[in-house]
Structure formats: structure tokens, C-alpha cells
Amino acid sequence: MTTLDEIAGHFGQYGGRFVPEALIGALEELDAARIKAQTDPTFIEELAELHRTYTGRPSILTEAKRFAEHAGGARILLKREDLNHTGSHKINNVLGQALLTKRMGKKRIIAETGAGQHGVASATAAALMGLECVVYMGEEDTKRQALNVARMKLLGAEVIPVTSGSRTLKDAINEAMRDWVTNVETTHYMLGTVAGPHPFPSMVRDFHKIIGEESREQVLALTGKLPTAVLACVGGGSNAIGIFHRFISDPEVRLIGLEAAGDGVETGRHAATITGGSPGVLHGNRTYVLQDENGQTIESHSISAGLDYPGVGPEHAYLHDIGRAEYRAITDAQAMHAFALLCKTEGIIPAIETAHALAGALQIGNELGPEAILLINLSGRGDKDVHTAAQYFGIPL
């Protein structure tokens, strides 16, 4: 299923490699390693075994009947990536990359993190496989997400607060790239989303596409047909591409990505890169970027730290331009409404990132009515967001 990319790592005009020459060798080494691994039965079995016995795959499908009453009566099927070990889809990617790291003979991994979910997942994989782990995290985020910083430290990782630029996720990525340029011989950069230079967008997608492969079978088994639409939240876009990918060749299935509109796209305080950005180059690939008229990156805003990123994976940019996927923007308020609704109707506390997809399901369900079957990637659980949600809803702590 490599229908759209793999022409030197391009998705139409998007993707590619815009990096210092010093990194080219490492990117080529990584590309060779992942291509070799794709057809290596030992690698495939090792990863499958980890998924069965460590991650907890396959993740289950839950029908959300009470939530569906608020979504025009459409059938709402939740793909429960929140039940994976470490609480989100992120584990799929880090286990794959950690296995590749060992195969390349490297002993140290570095990672960037915003809210801390990818940092925690990376620290987890590093602990499991005996790798040294350094996580770069914006200084502001280390304060807001102190609990996740502690989790990473418990798992044996070193967390380095990033004080450059806007001190957020994008600067954590910059700092990880600088570390990588310096230590590339010994170090693998465990990038956490489907962005960055080739082969990251393709490789990270391939580690997540199991989400769509499993859920396509599960939906068929449950309903006897394909879903009307597949919905997922989009920051960098890894959980979305993971669930979309198997459905790309099913033209009757709508693919809908939900971006973070923050205070509203029209306010300028948002993270809806496809909806409100323009094509440019950021972090090693050409994609949609939030940028000013001089090509300087604009800071993004969202209540959800995991969606608070001024770029997006290049494959999403391409799927948008060719019209195969649709992207809508969900405000903080719409997301928090859906967050509270899922808590109270289904007994599931979702991640605030995921709540954007749920808000999208409420819209789409009401547009399509009871005949529709909506498959939603419940990409993460909301334990990490209890503090933010309590503040938002005025619950005393």
C-alpha cells in the first residue's frame, strides 16, 4: 500500500528533505534500515510480538451508543488506541523505531515532546530496550506538564528544557535536530509524528497504519460494511494517517481530519495548519505551515498541547490538495464540549486532542444522520488532561 508517496519521499509537491547536509547520511541509513525491516520476517515478528504482549494490540472497537444520540443518531465506533500501554497511539511508532535503532547499532535516542505523550512513549521504549534516552521539551511545557516530566524521569530518561525561540514544541524539535546534527553517529532521532524529512513521514505512518488495518476488519465484522467516514484529530497527524491509510483506496469512505482552531481560525490564535496556513517548508519537509509574509513560523495556539504545532505531516497536505481527505477546524470550546459529553455518556475520559475528533463526529453525524457509520480514532486517554479540564470546567483541585 505505497500508493501515494515513495517518489524520493514526496507526496505530490510536499515532503522531501530540507535539512543540513550533515544529516543526509543518517537519513539514508534510516531509510535503508526501515525498507529492509519491512520485508524481514524477524523484524515483523518481533514487532508483532511486542504489540501482542506489551502494547495490548489489537485495540478494541467500542460502539458509543449514548454519545451517538447527540450525533444525529449515526453509529459511532471508537477505535480504542487510548487503551494501549502508555495511553495513546504513540507507542506503535516508538516500538518500531526503537527496534530499528538497535538494528542500526545505535545506543542513544533523542525525542521531542509537547505535552509529554511522545516523550513518555519514547522513554518507555528506551527503558524496554536498554537505550539511553534524552527528551527535549519546551521550558513552558515542562512546567505545565510536570507530571509527565516526572514519568519520563521515572522511566530513566533525561528531560532537557528548551529555552530557545518560543520555548514550545517547534523549538523542542529544533533543539533535537541540533543534537542530532552533533551526535548523529551514535544517536537516533525518534521523531514523534508524520512530519520531518524523508523517511520520517512514511516510516512513522507505516508504524501506525495498523490502526486502520485492524479497525477496517473490525468495522466490517461488526456492521458488514465499510464506515461512511473515518475521523481523527490532526496536529502533526500521526494518529490520523494511521487510521486513514488503509481506507485511502476505498473511495466511498470519507476521510476527515479535525484540526485545532484554538480561539477560532479567524482570531489568528489557532493551530489549524491546513485550514489557516499556506504551503512552505518547516522542520525538513514541504507542507502547510503557519507563517507570516516573510516565511517566519507563527506560533500556534490550542488548548490541546498535542495539536499545538504550526506544521502538519506532508501526506495530509497532499491528501487535502487532491481532495481525498477533508480537514475541518474545531475550536477549544467545541472540543471541550465533546470531551465532557464522552465522559458523561460513555464513561471514557478522552485526551483533549482526541476530543477534537469527537467534536467532528458530532458535526458530521448531525449532517449525515442515522444511516451513517462513523469510525473515530480514540487516539489517547485523558488522564494527562485532568488538570486542564478541571480548570476549564471550574472544578476545584
Binding site: P20, E21, A22, I24, R178, T182, V281, E293, G295, Q296
Partner: protein, 267 residues
């Protein structure tokens, strides 16, 4: 047709020495202050000037240049300011180039950017994150505007890839002396002479070494094997560490004088 930068390297080869290339981001310490730094460079005897286009996400730069870029951007530095700074240098008869990450070029318009470089007397552009695989549009733009495309090669660049990169270069080849980001260092990497020797096997173009050069002694050492010595962070530190702009400009000029002696002592 040759650029002023091409002519410079012919001249320094005849003088059997290396060229001193000094870097400053446009708009640092201020839009006007940058123009004074350029004057101090010229008075201090630098051979060529590299104007940086400050960028929000400079992954090839260490803390010194990042801080300078942030300071510059906070004053709203834009492409017009970059071209103004370039013109200050070229109007004084000093060859000058712009160093910029790729996105500002793409946003400005690839052909238009190359034309503006040429229109302001610039000799070329250093593009640290433009890989040769992505350079087709840029190649035709620089050819039309008759400016030098300067690519960076690294110690990790493979023997197979090295000639592919250097064959696309014009003006000079930028040799990154070590695996890492910009910044001053106590010693220039021992890998630099080896990299320069490897580049020489692939091209007759001049080779300039950057990353980690800050003193006369280091400049002298690099001038022993390279055609150009690039110094950036040391000048920025001189401005940052000074109690006021006037003192900073004095330090910049003195450092340029010292480095300019260094590039003449190497052989």
C-alpha cells in the same frame, strides 16, 4: 560571467593567502546597527561579507546566532532589510552573499529572490538546509540571475555524494568543519583538513571553512589548507559582550583586523 566573489578568490589565490569572510545577521543588533557592523568589518579588512537572513527555526545554528536572530526578528527584520544590508556591503566594493534557510526564499519567490540578490550587487546565496535533491528550481533561478549557489558539505557527506554537491556549487564550497551547529569553539575540528582534502578531489572551486573559528590562531591554521575562513558567532559575541554599541563595533573591527592577519599567516 564572474561575480565579485569569484574575482576575490582569484585575487587571494594570487596573493597565496586565504580570504576572510565575516557573517552578521541583518537587523542585528538593530537594523541600523547592522550597517555599522558591516562598516566595522570593512574597516577591519574582511574580504567578503555574509549577511544572514534571520529565521524563526534555525536548526543549523548554535545559541549565539539563535539569540542574534531572535533579537533581529523582534524588530521586524524582513527581506527588504536583508537586501539593504547586502547593498551596504556591495556599495563599498566588498563582495557579499546572503545566508538563509530555505523557507524565506520560497515565501519571497525563488526567482525574485535570486534577482534581488543580483540587483543589490550580491554575489550569491548560502543555503544550509537546501539539499541538492530539492534544488532544481533554485538552480535555474541562480543561473538566470548569474549568482553563485553555495551549498554546505559536512564531514559525514559520503564520497559518492560529495561530487554531486560540489558540482552544483558556485563561488566556493562551504565546508562545515565538524558535525554540529555554529558557534565558537576552543579548537577547530581536526576533521576539517581531511574534509577539505576530500572536497579538493572533486572540484577546482575555492573551499571556505566555517563552524568554530574565532581567533587569529585558528584563522591562521585554517588558512593553511583552505581558501576561505568564515567567522560568525565570534563577531556576534563581540557585539553581545560589549557594554554599548560603540564598544562592540570597536571590538568587531579589532577582531576583524586580527583575523585578517591570521588568514595571511597560514602559508
Amino acid at each position: 560571467m564572474s561575480t565579485p566573489l569569484d574575482d576575490l578568490f582569484i585575487k587571494v589565490r594570487a596573493e597565496n593567502r586565504a580570504a576572510l569572510i565575516a557573517y552578521i545577521p541583518a537587523g542585528f543588533p538593530t537594523i541600523e546597527g547592522c550597517k555599522k557592523v558591516i562598516q566595522a568589518f570593512i574597516e577591519g579588512g574582511v574580504d567578503a561579507i555574509e549577511i544572514g537572513f534571520p529565521y524563526s527555526d534555525p536548526v543549523m545554528d548554535g545559541p549565539t546566532i539563535q539569540a542574534a536572530a531572535d533579537q533581529s526578528l523582534s524588530q521586524g527584520t524582513n527581506a527588504a532589510d536583508v537586501f539593504d544590508a547586502l547593498k551596504v556591503a556591495t556599495d563599498s566594493g566588498v563582495p557579499a552573499v546572503v545566508m538563509t534557510y530555505w523557507n524565506p526564499i520560497e515565501k519571497y519567490g525563488v526567482e525574485k529572490f535570486a534577482q534581488s540578490i543580483a540587483a543589490n550587487g550580491g554575489s550569491g546565496v548560502i543555503t544550509p538546509d537546501l539539499t541538492i535533491e530539492e534544488s532544481a528550481g533554485w538552480k535555474s533561478a541562480v543561473e538566470k540571475s548569474e549568482i553563485n549557489p553555495i551549498y554546505v558539505v559536512a564531514p559525514s557527506t559520503s564520497a559518492q555524494r560529495l561530487p554531486q554537491v560540489t558540482s552544483r556549487c558556485g563561488g566556493f564550497v562551504y565546508a562545515a568543519s565538524l558535525m554540529g551547529v555554529t558557534g565558537t569553539r576552543t579548537a577547530v575540528s581536526s576533521g576539517a583538513p581531511d574534509l577539505v582534502a576530500r572536497i579538493r578531489e572533486t572540484t577546482d572551486l575555492p573551499i571556505a571553512v566555517g563552524l568554530g573559528v574565532s581567533t587569529r590562531e585558528q584563522a591562521k591554521g585554517v588558512a593553511g589548507y583552505a581558501d576561505g575562513v568564515i567567522v560568525g558567532s565570534a563577531f556576534i559575541k563581540a557585539m553581545q559582550d560589549a557594554p554599548n554599541e560603540a564598544e562592540g563595533l570597536k571590538s568587531v573591527k579589532e577582531l576583524a583586523q586580527q583575523l585578517s592577519l591570521g588568514v595571511r599567516e597560514g602559508r
